[in-house]
């Protein structure tokens, strides 16, 4: 019995370990690459242990910038990405909370029509409506601004649906108790609904932050100035295919840096995030 248990325990662990190794190895290689100098990588015999140029590479990257195609320091790019991801995540959450609140708790004309309109936008991600969206942003003179970068990505059917689903599980009696306790709709929203939604909000934040951070196509179109570039685009620009002058150690370091904020967000929000996806606090 005991042995069978340990074997049964062992196999899943083995599978998990294998999975982790397969996933982590490329990341490790990227990290190792970011700690050597260009020459070592270029000759094709990069060792599998970290090299001596860690501080030098990262310092140059963050505060000075690369030599060739992207001259901006990566610090600026990270800031841009951070602003974009944060605005998208928080904007989406704010808008979705409000629209889900309206759809679930208010009886207004064309309520279901409004809901279905939101729902249908699921089928129209930025990639599909990219030309009209670009035109609008350009006409509004929002090219190369944070507003242009984020606002078109904020409207979110996914988050609205998730919050609607959550709100519908909140017992009606809570609304009624609030009404009797003299809380109007907005007071109910802030005093009861929002605190109850906190885990869903955390889950949404994690998902949408990563979504925002990983945006590629839209920032590529909207930003032309180097100082408005996001880090994802920065990485792309660092890898120059035509000549072999790609500074791989810097590109890899940028990739590692680009990974950190989302990882940080996941780690910090982990507990709330998992709770938000699997259970509701009621």
């Amino acid at each position: 019995m005991v042995e069978r248990r340990s074997i049964l325990d062992f196999i899943p662990h083995l599978v998990l370990l294998l999975g982790i190794v397969i996933l982590a190895f490329p990341v490790y290689v990227a990290f190792v690459a970011s700690t050597w100098d260009a020459a070592t990588i270029a000759n094709g015999h990069m060792p599998l242990r970290p090299g001596p140029h860690f501080l030098e590479n990262y310092y140059k990257l963050l505060f000075v910038g690369t030599g060739s195609s992207t001259r901006e320091p990566v610090g600026v790019m990270m800031l841009n990405s951070l602003v974009m991801a944060m605005s998208i995540a928080l904007g989406k959450i704010a808008i979705s909370l409000i629209s889900a609140f309206a759809v679930v708790y208010f009886r207004f004309p064309f309520r279901m029509a409004a809901f279905w309109t939101i729902f249908v936008t699921l089928m129209l991600p930025v990639e599909v409506r990219i030309y009209p969206t670009y035109k609008i942003v350009a006409d509004l003179n929002l090219l190369d601004t944070y507003a242009g970068l984020t606002i078109p990505l904020i409207a979110s059917a996914t988050a609205t649906l998730l919050f609607r689903q959550f709100f519908m599980t909140v017992p009606d009696e809570l609304v009624e108790a609030s009404r009797i306790d003299g809380a109007g709709p907005m007071k109910f929203f802030f005093d009861t609904l929002l605190p109850l939604s906190i885990t869903s909000i955390a889950a949404m934040f994690v998902i949408q932050f990563i979504y925002g951070w990983n945006q590629y196509l839209w920032p590529l179109l909207i930003t032309t100035r180097d100082d408005m570039q996001t880090i994802v685009i920065g990485i792309k620009k660092m890898i120059v295919t035509q000549d072999a002058l790609t500074e791989w150690q810097l590109a890899m370091a940028t990739a590692i840096l680009a990974m950190l904020p989302p990882v940080l967000v996941v780690i910090v929000m982990q507990k709330l995030f998992v709770k938000g996806l699997v259970e509701t606090e009621k």
Binding site: I180, D181, G182
Partner: protein, 352 residues
């Protein structure tokens, strides 16, 4: 004066469902009114109209001397205890009770005082810092009561507040609610479908059926003189035996006097039978019965009997334990004052 008056109150839901039809009830200041009836009869709807959670389709509701039809729940000066308690899950017990007062801008010191007072009355002082999740069902029930008490409302409304508790706790809380209501003297409306709860709590008992009032009055009046077969069958446990009397009489059943003419239903409570040996009599009612099943509860025994050997089934209650066995033939007799007669067609009581 915190009396509550319902005047011809009606409710039609959006789908055309007529949930409540022209109900008039007058509840004097400080009285405990219980609405009882089968599922779907409109009890909750009526209560929620008093609370202001449901619009009033027709008629008027007056609390004190104010017509409240168009007032918000928070302006009606009522407090409600819900079946599933509806405590705010993210607030501590203290905040749950204080929330309504804070919204009314009650001074902090007074909130503190009122919450502590309610906590003392309900013996939940040691729970004030907990979240509802960390409470037992009974404790949650108390907090819900506390939330109602701190408001010092004109009217308490209860919608089946005890139905989520286990049997023992229910009885305990029932007694406490009664004591509390007496002590505070607050006019109350209480919805239940448990007839025992209804009988024990009510000053005024309202039996509802299909959106209408079947009968209302003091509980014992309803027990002693049910106005319809519906009330007769609803009040009392087990309920009154209702035996339809066919044209030529029922074999094995002898009545000394039959009031009026036409088809009748005879009603008699299980506890009003006496058992004698076959052949004695005559009494106001003599029934020869054959015992088909026995239910012994300890303090009393219920005999399920067939009238005349194979006629309709009636229940006879015997105090304490009983030596009688299934298959025995007996004579069940009753006094004239314990017999009820109803019109067989309409179910309405025949005046006596």
């Amino acid at each position: 004066m915190n009396n509550v008056q319902l005047r011809q109150v009606g409710k039609v839901y959006a789908g055309g469902v007529e949930a409540v039809r022209a109900i008039s009830i007058d509840i004097p200041d400080g009285k405990f009114c219980v609405l009882v009836g089968p599922s779907g009869c409109g009890k909750s709807t009526l209560l929620r109209m008093v609370a202001g959670l449901e619009t009033i389709s027709s008629g008027e509701i007056v609390i004190g001397d104010r017509r409240v039809n168009d007032l918000d729940p928070s302006e009606r000066d009522i407090a409600m205890v819900f079946q599933n308690y509806a405590l705010y899950p993210h607030m501590s017990v203290y905040d749950n009770m204080a929330y309504g007062l804070r919204n009314r801008r009650t001074p902090k010191a007074e909130i503190e005082e009122r919450v502590q007072e309610a906590a003392r009355i309900l013996e939940i002082g040691h729970l004030l810092d907990r979240k509802p999740r960390a409470l037992s069902g009974g404790q949650r029930q108390r907090v819900a009561m506390g939330r109602a008490i701190v408001r010092k409302p004109r009217v308490f409304l209860f919608d089946e507040p005890l139905s989520n508790l286990d049997a023992k706790l229910r009885i305990q809380m029932r007694v406490e609610i009664k004591k509390l209501q007496r002590a505070l003297g607050i006019t109350s409306i209480y919805v239940t479908h448990d007839q025992l709860e209804a009988m024990t709590l009510a000053d005024i008992l309202v039996v509802m059926n299909k959106g209408k009032v079947e009968q209302m009055g003091p509980p014992l009046t309803l027990y002693e003189r049910p106005a319809t077969t519906f009330v007769a069958g609803f009040i009392g446990a087990p309920p009154m035996n209702l035996v339809p009397l066919p044209e030529g009489g029922l074999p094995g059943l002898k009545l000394a006097k039959v009031p009026g003419s036409g088809r009748l239903t005879l009603g008699i409570r299980p506890e009003h039978f006496e058992l004698t040996a076959p052949g004695t009599g005559p009494h106001a009612l003599d029934i020869d019965v054959t015992v088909s099943a026995i239910e012994a509860v300890g303090s009393e025994t219920f005999l399920y009997c067939a009238v005349g050997g194979n006629g309709p089934e009636i229940i006879v209650r015997v105090a304490g334990k009983s030596e009688i066995e299934a298959g025995a033939t007996l004579r069940a007799v009753a006094e004239a004052k314990n017999l009820h007669f109803f019109d067989d067609e309409t179910g309405v009581r025949i005046a006596d």
